[in-house]
């Protein structure tokens, strides 16, 4: 996205991101407070869940009560359960929860049922007591060793047994059928009893009390049914209450969810926004750090270019950062260009701003810069002008007019180009590079003049030798060989002279529109042929390279020379990459044709001299030290320059750099 915004916009975006992050974090904090407040509902939930547990516990106890028939256990269990429910009622009553208060009636119903249970139990116990009495009567009046002596007595005895069974009946059906049987058997017996017999009279009395037996047993059974009914009702009411409470807890949960979820959701969204903001900030910082690291790795002295105290590369007359990042291989190119601008801005704040000019080239700030080189009191008037990548500071003294030449490192246009920040290299006479350039310039001038003269003379020599060779007077073979040898040497000299002339930019070039990539591809076979077997040649050609107006023959020779130099620098296995790329600087497009090798590299102390004619760092080769000189001259003549980057032990990159035109 950075590609589509200006650095100012991105800075604004960054500010907005920080603002959003701040607002998000603040809102998260506010939402958290809301969540905490709304979570208080969970206390109600917990309370109701606790009550549900109490009810469940009490209901479980009811089950055991149902199974216990002993009066004392009944009473004990009943009291315990009653206490539990009264405790539940107390919780409901003392609670400020409206829902609890509404449910008090439900618990009252349970407690009423428990009271009814107790009353029924007491009645049942009364009947049980009566039953015991009846059992005693029956047992006392019917002797186990009594031998009935008549059919009637047998009937009576069986009736006694029926009564005993009836007393132990546990259900109404059995009791009913015993009653039916008793009625039939006893009715028959009663009719045959001799009223005079005392025993018979006793039997008659017991028989007449049979109603009590059946009635008591029936009542006991009915009370048992009633007790079970009470327990069923209590369980049912408890169950309904538990269900209602569970429902209310679910409602509370829903309520809590409704109140807590929106802030939670908002928090999640805000967290997501914050994360994105933090991510963007981290991304930006990481890219910045990456860029800085790359600066270090590349050992670029570009930062130094901002300062007048550092070494200056004469070839860098543009934004050095852009230069560095103009490398097509850099996938982050566009982003880096942007970041470089930001970084550059940053560096502006940290480095000396050399000079700021407005659009009319009038100094805005730092106009006293020149005082660092010459005291203001030592000259009368001064003015400066910008010409040919130099800023010329001219000052008039009593003696006369003098000037100081400041090569321009970089011109940064700001504020819709109304202002320019000019970064100047130290004055020319202080620059080693300038010395080097001067030296090369001088060498070129001398070489050119000398070569031109020698070339003229050699032309005469070669012409004369050719005439001699074609002469009919020359018969001896030995003589012809001598002339051929002389011609060979003369040709060789011509070749050297040509190169010198090329170095001196005096060579007549025949430029034409050339597809550089096609040209290099055409050279591939030649380069491979000349290379050692253990050296791999790789082409890395950018499809964006436009058709370029240059002398193809010279360019071929130049590239081959660079490749031969690269091969000579490789000991053992190695690789050479011939690369083309198009980079975009602030002002123009730049064509880079580079030859990279991983050879032994060029020591820094001789890097300044490699373009000098007849200078060679190769001891065992028969090179004449004119390859790079020729390349230097040709490239210079063609409007470009050669950039050298070399690290001893790592390799060398020789780049032929051509500015293709002004982007603006």
């Amino acid at each position: 996205m950075f590609n589509y915004f200006s650095h100012r916009s991105v800075l604004i975006i960054l500010v907005i991101i920080f603002t959003i992050l701040g607002i998000s974090l603040w809102k998260i904090n506010v939402n958290n407070q809301n969540i905490q407040i709304n979570l208080s509902i969970t206390k109600k939930e917990a309370s109701r869940l606790n009550l549900i547990n109490n009810l469940n516990y009490s209901s479980l106890k009811l089950n055991s009560l149902d199974k216990q028939r002993s009066e004392y256990i009944f009473l004990f269990s009943h009291n315990e359960i009653n206490k539990e429910y009264k405790k539940i009622k107390k919780i409901l009553t003392s609670s400020k929860d409206k829902y609890y208060i509404e449910k008090i009636n439900d618990v009252d119903k349970i407690i009423d049922e428990l009271d009814n249970f107790k009353s029924t139990m007491k009645l049942r116990n009364d009947y049980l007591f009566h039953k015991k009495t009846l059992q005693t009567i029956l047992n006392n009046n019917i002797s186990t060793d009594y031998k009935p002596f008549s059919i009637e007595e047998i009937n009576i005895v069986s009736s006694w047994e029926l009564l005993k069974d009836a007393l132990n009946s546990s259900n109404l059906i059995t009791l009913g059928e015993l009653r039916r049987t008793f009625n039939h058997s006893f009715a028959g017996a009663i009719g045959s009893i001799n009223p005079l017999l005392i025993e018979n009279r006793q039997i008659k009395n017991i028989a007449s009390g049979a109603n009590g037996v059946f009635s008591t047993t029936r009542n006991i059974i009915l009370k048992n049914i009633k007790l079970e009914e009470h327990i069923y009702n209590i369980q049912k009411y408890s169950f309904v209450l538990i269900k209602n409470l569970e429902g209310s807890v679910t409602e509370l949960k829903q309520e809590r969810r409704e109140k807590v979820m929106p802030p939670l959701l908002k928090n999640q969204i805000l967290m997501a926004i914050s994360t994105i903001c933090i991510f963007l900030i981290i991304l930006f910082i990481s890219k910045l750090l990456l860029l800085l690291r790359r600066f270090n790795n590349a050992n670029i002295k570009s930062i130094g270019l901002l300062s007048r105290f550092n070494k200056i590369n004469n070839n860098l007359y543009e934004n050095p950062l852009n230069n560095y990042f103009s490398d097509k291989n850099n996938t982050y190119n566009e982003f880096h260009v942007f970041v470089s601008e930001i970084l550059y801005k940053f560096l502006l704040r940290t480095q000396d701003i050399v000079l700021i000019l407005d659009k009319n080239n009038i100094p805005v700030i730092n106009s006293d810069f020149f005082n660092m080189y010459i005291k203001k009191s030592s000259y009368l008037t001064s003015h400066y002008s910008i010409s040919n990548q130099n800023l010329v500071f001219t000052y008039a003294t009593k003696v006369g007019e003098k000037s100081i030449l400041f090569p321009i490192d970089y011109i940064h246009k700001v504020g819709n180009f109304e202002h320019k920040i000019i970064f100047l290299s130290p004055p020319v006479n202080e620059s080693k590079n300038a010395i080097k350039n001067d030296r090369l310039e001088s060498l070129g001038k001398i070489s050119g003049e000398v070569a031109h003269d020698i070339n003229n003379m050699l032309s005469v020599i070669i012409g004369s030798l050719n005439i001699l060779r074609e002469s009919k007077n020359l018969v001896a073979k030995e003589d012809s060989r001598i002339i051929d040898r002389a011609l060979f040497s003369a040709d060789k000299s011509i070749s050297i002279i040509d190169r010198l002339l090329t170095f001196a930019c005096c060579q007549k070039l025949s430029p034409e529109l050339v597809d550089v990539n096609d040209l290099i591809e055409g050279l591939y076979e030649v380069i491979c042929f000349t290379s050692e077997k253990n050296t791999t040649i790789t082409l890395d050609l950018s499809p964006d390279v436009p058709i370029f107006y240059i002398d193809p023959g010279q360019l071929e020779a130049c590239i081959i020379n660079l490749c031969i130099n690269a091969m000579n620098a490789i000991d053992g296995e190695g690789h050479i990459t011939v690369k083309t790329s198009i980079n975009h600087s602030a002002h123009c497009e730049i064509l880079n044709i580079s030859v990279e090798d991983n050879g032994h590299g060029i020591p820094k102390n001789i890097q300044n001299r490699i373009f000098e004619p007849f200078f060679t760092g190769q001891k065992k080769t028969d090179g004449q030290g004119l390859g790079l000189s020729m390349a230097y001259g040709f490239i210079k003549q063609s409007g470009g320059y050669i950039k050298v980057y070399s690290e001893v032990g790592l390799g060398t990159t020789m780049s032929l750099v051509f500015e293709l035109g002004d982007n603006q």
Partner: protein, 346 residues
């Protein structure tokens, strides 16, 4: 004349007038809904008419149909203009439901010889209905079919859920059958809430089909088409006579029972005649006719002859069936929905 002789004259006059009032009633027919076996209904009508000389019309309906009819007929848009006076027979829970809906007239019989279960129904209905007969639930097994498949007789209700009886069991649909509902509520009263679900689920797995009525569930067992069914055991002896392979099992956990009830409808116009009819059916002499001629239930009068089916007291392993609870509509719905949710029978 002694002073009390003066009271004889009005009494005599009253006695003379009594037949006149009966005579007036003759012009009106006593309409009875009978939910007992048709033979029982007819015997009752004939014997009642022969003694009281009251025109009596009996309509045969099942318990469920009768309850539905009474409920619908009590509303403004009546099903029929006929005013029904007595509902005789049919399971006690349906009568109790009608009582709870306020459709029955209060009536406490004068008969003092009624057995405990009969008056129990009267007690829990606050004197609006009375038990006239009772019958126990049992498992009816076809020994021939079981033997052919090398299967033992089940002993308990839980045995009916044994996978070995898969596809051998026929139980009527409890939604339409009083017998099947009694079976369900019996299981509910025997087992705790967790056990009952398991037991019923296993039993339902074994069911071959679910006919609408209890009698229809018994027929396939009688015709050797199925091995097991659940029925009131007094319905079995007649079938047992036709198919000696049938046998009755009283489940080891105890069994439930039904109480056939009699009630006077609130809409009755002939309350005295209605009371007279019910009192008549509670008499030992009347019930003896039914016991010997038509059905084998236990009848409510203590002096009625014992049913041969229930003579063996050791077989009377009965639970204290709580009619009051299991006649409640909410409880009935719970019981039925529990059963219905257990899964479908193929």
């Amino acid at each position: 004349m002694k002073p009390w002789h003066y009271f004889l004259a009005p009494l005599f006059v009253c006695l003379l007038m009594l037949p006149t009032s009966w005579a007036n009633a003759e012009n009106h027919t006593l309409n009875i809904i009978c939910s007992a076996a048709p033979a029982t209904c007819n015997v009752l009508r004939d014997s009642f008419v022969s003694i009281y000389d009251i025109p009596t019309n009996i309509v045969r309906m099942s318990s469920g149909e009768a309850l539905d009819f009474i409920e619908k007929n009590s509303k403004s848009n009546k099903l029929t203009d006929i005013s029904y006076d007595v509902w005789w027979g049919g399971t006690g829970d349906t009568h109790l439901k009608a009582v709870k809906n306020g459709l029955m007239h209060k009536f406490v019989p004068n008969n003092k010889a009624l057995l405990g279960w009969s008056t129990y129904l009267s007690d829990i209905s606050d004197g609006h209905t009375v038990g006239v007969y009772a019958g126990m639930l049992g498992v009816i097994a076809n020994k021939k079919v079981l033997t052919a498949q090398n299967l033992d007789l089940p002993n308990c209700w839980s045995d009916l859920g044994d996978p070995k009886y898969r596809g051998q069991l026929i139980i009527a649909d409890p939604n339409t059958s009083g017998t099947a509902y009694t079976f369900l509520s019996t299981i509910f009263q025997i087992y705790d809430p967790f056990q009952r679900i398991q037991v019923l689920a296993e039993i339902k797995e074994n069911i071959l089909k679910m006919p609408k009525s209890g009698s229809d569930a018994l027929l396939p067992v009688a015709s050797d088409d199925a091995a097991l069914s659940v029925a009131f055991i007094h319905d079995v002896p007649l079938l047992e006579y036709q198919n000696p392979s049938l046998t009755i099992i009283i489940p080891c956990e105890g069994t439930g029972y039904e109480i056939g009830a009699a009630s006077i409808l609130k809409s009755t116009k002939y309350l005295k005649q209605a009371k007279a009819f019910i009192e008549y059916t509670l008499l030992a002499s009347t019930q003896n006719i039914l016991t010997t001629k038509t059905s084998l239930q236990m009848y409510s009068n203590a002096n009625t002859l014992a049913s041969p089916v229930y003579k063996n007291r050791k077989d009377l392993n009965v639970i204290n069936y709580n009619f009051n609870i299991y006649s409640r509509e909410t409880v009935r719905n719970d019981v039925l929905s529990t059963w219905n949710n257990l899964g479908n029978v193929d």
